[in-house]
Point group: C2
Chain length 347, copies 2
């Protein structure tokens, strides 16, 4: 039983790794002492500690975290899960999602946490719990609520520590952190109204909770001005590439008159603007357009995009903070972060 074949899977030819016993032997002390020295314990003689530390550093020895975790029953790794659509696989493509990943990486690093990144099939969302069930991570941050409310509730019911970026929904068992989509939608629409636009089209798939909230904000802003939302102007398009162009064409097909547009993502807005230009309807003169997210390229676009900024940096920190609370066995309240209107040339 003492010989797990030396040629372990994915580990055939490399030389044996250094371990604590080696350092101990070289330093002429026991492994306990090495362990204590490396942990900075007061119990070990200054001179001994120096010697051990020196040795470890010069040999690039680093404690085996797997073994340490096992012994200590601790863990400093957080799972980040990005569901992908089984058909397109295309979710990791949206710049907004990617920016969120960056923000998370920063927030985790700040807390001395590691990030285990996993993509899972959105249809099999329970797979998101696997890294937790197998003890690899203390909990999971999921980016991309999509339409998986029920599956997420099931995970939470199973007591998997999970925080989701997205909208807060009724009867929700899991913890969400998200932008204030209703306020964001109202902000964008309010601005267009203030500029005197009255026929404002809405682009986006309101089956997605976040988009639905943006649409609510849109309706609120209209009603505040005594305008009834016109279903003709509400075009359901997906976030996929092509959605923006498709949305504009659909509006034309309907023969709907419009002088402005609120797109539920910047990508959608950009594609829509391009299509409008092709159709001879210049932005912002003929049609004013506001996007959503404020991805970096929004400012590079022509015309520079007016948009609703999502609080990405704050989002990363908030997601991590909530997850730590959950992993600690506490409850964590869902959170809505403020959004902000960024005015550029497109509206």
């Amino acid at each position: 039983m003492l010989k797990p074949k030396p040629a372990a899977p994915a580990a055939s030819a490399q030389q044996r790794r250094l371990q604590m016993a080696d350092i101990a032997r070289l330093a002429g002390v026991s492994t306990s002492t090495v362990s204590r020295a490396l942990a900075g314990s007061k119990l070990v003689n200054d001179e001994t500690r120096q010697r051990v530390l020196e040795l470890a550093r010069s040999l690039n020895y680093s404690i085996n975290i797997g073994a340490q975790n096992l012994r200590l029953k601790q863990n400093r790794t957080v799972g980040v899960v990005v569901p992908y659509d089984p058909d397109t696989r295309q979710q990791l493509t949206d710049p907004f999602f990617l920016a969120m990943l960056g923000s998370l990486a920063d927030a985790l690093t700040e807390q001395g946490l590691d990030m285990l990144l996993t993509r899972v099939d959105a249809g099999q969302l329970d797979a998101a719990a696997q890294p937790f069930d197998s003890g690899r991570v203390i909990g999971v941050i999921l980016i991309g609520q999509w339409r998986h409310h029920d599956q997420l509730n099931q995970l939470a019911a199973r007591r998997v520590p999970i925080v989701v970026w997205g909208a807060q929904l009724p009867q929700q068992l899991y913890c969400t952190v998200g932008g204030d989509n209703v306020a964001g939608g109202a902000l964008a629409t309010g601005h267009l109204l203030q500029r005197g636009r009255r026929r404002i089209a809405f682009l986006g798939d309101i089956n997605l909770p976040e988009v639905e909230h943006r649409y609510q904000g849109y309706c609120q802003a209209l009603r505040a001005q005594g305008i009834a939302p016109d279903p003709q102007l509400q075009v359901p398009v997906s976030f996929l590439p092509g959605g923006g162009a498709e949305g504009v064409r659909e509006l034309m097909r309907r023969g709907a008159a419009f002088d402005a547009m609120f797109a539920s993502s910047d990508l959608l807005a950009m594609a829509a603007i391009n299509t409008l230009r092709e159709l001879g309807r210049p932005v912002p003169d003929d049609v004013a357009v506001v996007g959503y997210d404020d991805i970096e390229l929004a400012s590079y676009f022509h015309p520079p995009l007016s948009t609703v900024r999502q609080p990405i940096a704050a989002a990363g920190r908030a997601l991590v903070a909530s997850l730590l609370e959950l992993a600690d066995g506490q409850g964590a309240a869902s959170l809505q972060l403020p959004t902000e209107l960024v005015l550029r040339a497109s509206a």
Copy 2:
């Protein structure tokens, strides 16, 4: 010694996790049998296996990977490191890098590997080896060679399995996978020449190996047409936001005449195009512009960007394949992937 305080760090209130002994007890067998059943061993009775499997599934039990790895001396995790500039922290912002991350996530998932994502200070690149030294990962994929050739060589000399996305350099000890930047530069420049442009500006920081190669390709293409590269037209600008605008202004300041531009990234090209437009030099009529990378938004831009496409999907797979070879103790040859010219409206 038997009581590592039950309230372990970051693990206070949650209930004890299920483990193999629990399943064994419930199934009325020994842990050996459970282990075998879960591993699908032929040694265990069909009926027993069924019972164990059933039990494990219904309780969402999953083998503790940390313990398993320790015992088996195996590991299925790969480290992915993205260096950041200590000042700006802004490297995870370039859409190209982010797309590469997505591609890597896919390639790793395909191979049943997990991805541990770490950001490290570009000035302390030896920190990139930490996840390897501590046994968390079988090797490291580093995105962002920048100017850290020497530090990377040191890591490789220490026998850290590491694969770097970037350019192949003389006296290189580490393994690189990258696009063929010389060919890419020649492709872009050749196209501009073919369109009759003769005064082609080059935008980019040639201190970066990849950019330097693109510049070499640029020079080659010019010389092939009997044109000597004009230093006046070579503008060193960083990839940071603002670099594109700065580059164009610098050209104007120099009073350099130019009728085309090859920018070493799409972001640079977009910013340059916007600035050119502001200065009354429309693209492509007055100045033809070719970018580099073919990020998704290149096609959304106005005018849609002609650019050199980097083989992102292939890159992810190649990086993973090379890393597996290295981790396996074999050498891995550096690799150059073909690039391709994508013609749109900007040139």
